[in-house]
């Protein structure tokens, strides 16, 4: 074998390895989707979305869990997005580089790796007991906000870093203030990356079970929450309960509920991708 052949061989081997690596993820996802689809698709009906929890699997529905999930996601986004972006901007644009900012940086990165149940315990003590918010949607979504804040902050910072410094300099050269530069140049230019971070963060939050159970999300809630102070349950808890019940009917219900949860995630991601692209197209440099 001459040198040229060795090179081609290496080239092809690397390409095949990359293809295998990609397909492993895709195949696993496909197997999961097919299995869940076969188990649960036929269970999806109008009644499934409007029925209350029940001991009879064929009468049980996800109404309260679905509405609970939507409540929690919206309120979590309302808290986490402005705070996360604000903190990211501060750290990237205002904070002086020094031991203090690197200390903060390390801590925020570490927070992203803390097991979610720890956030649950924190939320239980702070929101439920100290602030007396009770076992409510508000406590749950504040806890989830804490959980996803590090992801939002880190991705905001990374996104701002990718904006060329010439943009900032041009803005200052034209006499813009710092606020105008951040608000009108940096943020719009970084919005794609920020948006991606938010999507990832919210997609993580939507699947969380453990911290919400600790904070006091319930299982049997036979009424639709009407305010952020009401008791609630969410889809992952409903699924968790159903998959561990003995009757086969509940396993089917769980599969159907998983399909619904995945559809919500896909919808969220899809909407965010569209938003991101539209935003990105407006920024030209």
């Amino acid at each position: 074998m001459n040198n040229e052949q060795v090179k081609t061989l290496k080239n092809n081997a690397f390409k095949i390895w990359a293809i295998i690596a990609t397909s492993i993820g895709l195949i696993m996802l496909a197997v999961l989707l097919i299995k869940i689809g076969m188990d649960g698709l036929h269970r999806l009906s109008f009644d499934f979305f409007t029925a209350l929890p029940s001991r009879r699997p064929e009468q049980a529905g996800i109404l309260t869990a679905l509405v609970g999930t939507l409540w929690v996601m919206v309120t979590t986004a309302v808290f986490a997005i402005p705070i996360g972006i604000g903190a990211g901007i501060y750290l990237e644009e205002y904070a002086r580089k020094g031991w203090w900012s690197s200390f903060l940086e390390i801590n925020i990165s570490n927070l992203a790796g803390v097991p979610s149940i720890i956030y649950g315990l924190l939320g239980l003590e702070i929101f439920v007991r100290t602030l007396h918010l009770g076992q409510s949607i508000l406590s749950g979504s504040l806890t989830l906000s804490l959980l996803i804040l590090p992801i939002v902050i880190v991705s905001t910072r990374e996104a701002i870093k990718t904006v060329p410094s010439t943009m900032r300099e041009a803005s200052y050269a034209l006499g813009a203030s710092k606020w105008q530069t951040i608000w009108m140049q940096m943020l719009p230019a970084a919005s794609g990356g920020i948006m991606t971070g938010i999507i990832l963060a919210l997609s993580r939050a939507i699947g969380e079970t453990a911290p919400l159970i600790v904070v006091g999300a319930l299982m049997y809630v036979p009424f639709v929450p009407k305010s952020v102070f009401d008791s609630f349950t969410v889809l992952p808890i409903q699924i968790y309960n159903w998959v561990s019940r003995p009757q086969a009917g509940f396993i089917i219900n769980a599969a159907a509920a998983i399909i619904v949860l995945m559809l919500i995630t896909i919808l969220m991601n899809g909407a965010a991708v569209i938003l991101r692209n539209r935003w990105q197209n407006r920024v030209k440099w």
Partner: protein
């Protein structure tokens, strides 16, 4: 941009009126009566069934049921955050004293039995019965890395590897099984397949000829065609001679020993004084037998339900079980002693 400003506004609004609205929601919940249950995931299906049926006739009461586990449920109960605590084991002396210190008096009410099934693979043709002693040899902590083959326990069994499956360490089933078989709660060998979800164990045993496992009887009954149930012999004459197979009857009449256990609800005395909670608990005890059977547990004998109802009507507080060995306890005897002593 406007959207972001709007989001900020909503946050500010929420945080400023948080306390105020919280009070309002407290007031509102007093108008709309609320009964809060939390605790064991084993007892959950029974409480769910009772709450579901009760709601059909009593629309004015909101009943919620949580899934914090027996221990987690008691933590909330001790703080007065719940009215009723679901428990798959009796309250511990520590939990009992914490309740007392917090001024929470409770009424302890057994509501049904649960049986723990010993199951093997359908193709297992050598195991027709097992003694408590043999189970102990298989599961005791000392068996770890030593007992690996069937014939090490009983020479009549084959020279094949034995694969053990059991419920996760957080479950009441696990606590009870270890206490009944190994003599001490939570004492068990570490090298077995543990899963929090019994359905995982069902699949594991279904696919492994050399498997043996334990979990709640309801999971066997839902998977009868996949698994083989093994009769258990406690080698005590008074609990039925010879090996006894787990079933509705043998658990109910107390011969399936030592692997059947009572499950409970604990009602806060303060809550029990409220008419809506009292009515709900009355309904619970009236229908517990029927609904427990429907979700896979075993009804207590009728005379025990009568005694349990009397216990609730009389408002007997404190635990008849705290601190005593729950294995092999006969509910009727225990309650009879207590009620004649009055």
């Amino acid at each position: 941009m406007k959207k972001t400003i709007l989001a900020f506004g909503i946050v500010a609004l929420l945080s400023s009126c948080g306390n105020n609205q919280n009070q309002q929601s407290n007031e509102r919940s007093q108008e709309k009566m609320e009964i809060k249950l939390d605790g064991s995931s084993t007892v959950y299906p029974v409480s769910e069934a009772v709450a579901e049926d009760y709601k059909a006739t009593n629309q004015s009461v909101n009943i919620t049921v949580g899934l914090s586990g027996t221990g987690g449920g008691f933590k909330k109960f001790e703080r007065g955050e719940t009215d009723i605590s679901n428990a798959s084991r009796p309250i511990t002396p520590l939990e009992d004293s914490t309740c007392l210190a917090a001024g929470i008096n409770y009424i302890e009410l057994p509501i049904a039995y649960d049986g723990i099934a010993i199951v093997v693979n359908k193709d297992n043709n050598w195991l027709t019965k097992i003694t408590v002693n043999e189970l102990n040899k298989l599961w005791e902590p000392g068996a770890q890395n030593k007992i690996k083959k069937w014939n090490q326990v009983n020479p009549a069994w084959p020279d094949e590897e034995v694969h053990l499956f059991g419920t996760g360490t957080a479950s009441g089933t696990f606590d009870y099984f270890t206490e009944a078989i190994n003599g001490k709660s939570k004492s068990i060998r570490g090298d077995y397949t543990a899963a929090a979800n019994p359905n995982v164990l069902v699949e594991g045993i279904h696919g492994d000829k050399n498997a043996l496992g334990f979990f709640g009887l309801a999971y066997f009954e839902a998977n009868k065609d996949k698994l083989k149930l093994i009769p258990v012999d406690d080698e005590k004459k008074e609990d039925g001679d010879g090996p006894v197979i787990a079933s509705q009857e043998t658990v109910k009449n107390g011969t399936y020993q030592p692997l059947s256990r009572p499950i409970f609800i604990y009602v806060s005395k303060k809550s029990a004084d409220k008419p809506e909670v009292k009515a709900f608990v009355d309904y619970y005890l009236e229908n517990a037998g029927k609904l427990a059977t429907e979700v896979g547990y075993i009804a207590l004998p009728d005379e025990v339900y009568t005694m349990v109802k009397k216990r609730f009507t009389d408002g007997v507080t404190g635990s008849a079980f705290a601190g005593i060995d729950p294995v092999g306890v006969k509910l009727d005897e225990l309650l009879k002693v207590e009620q004649t002593a009055k």
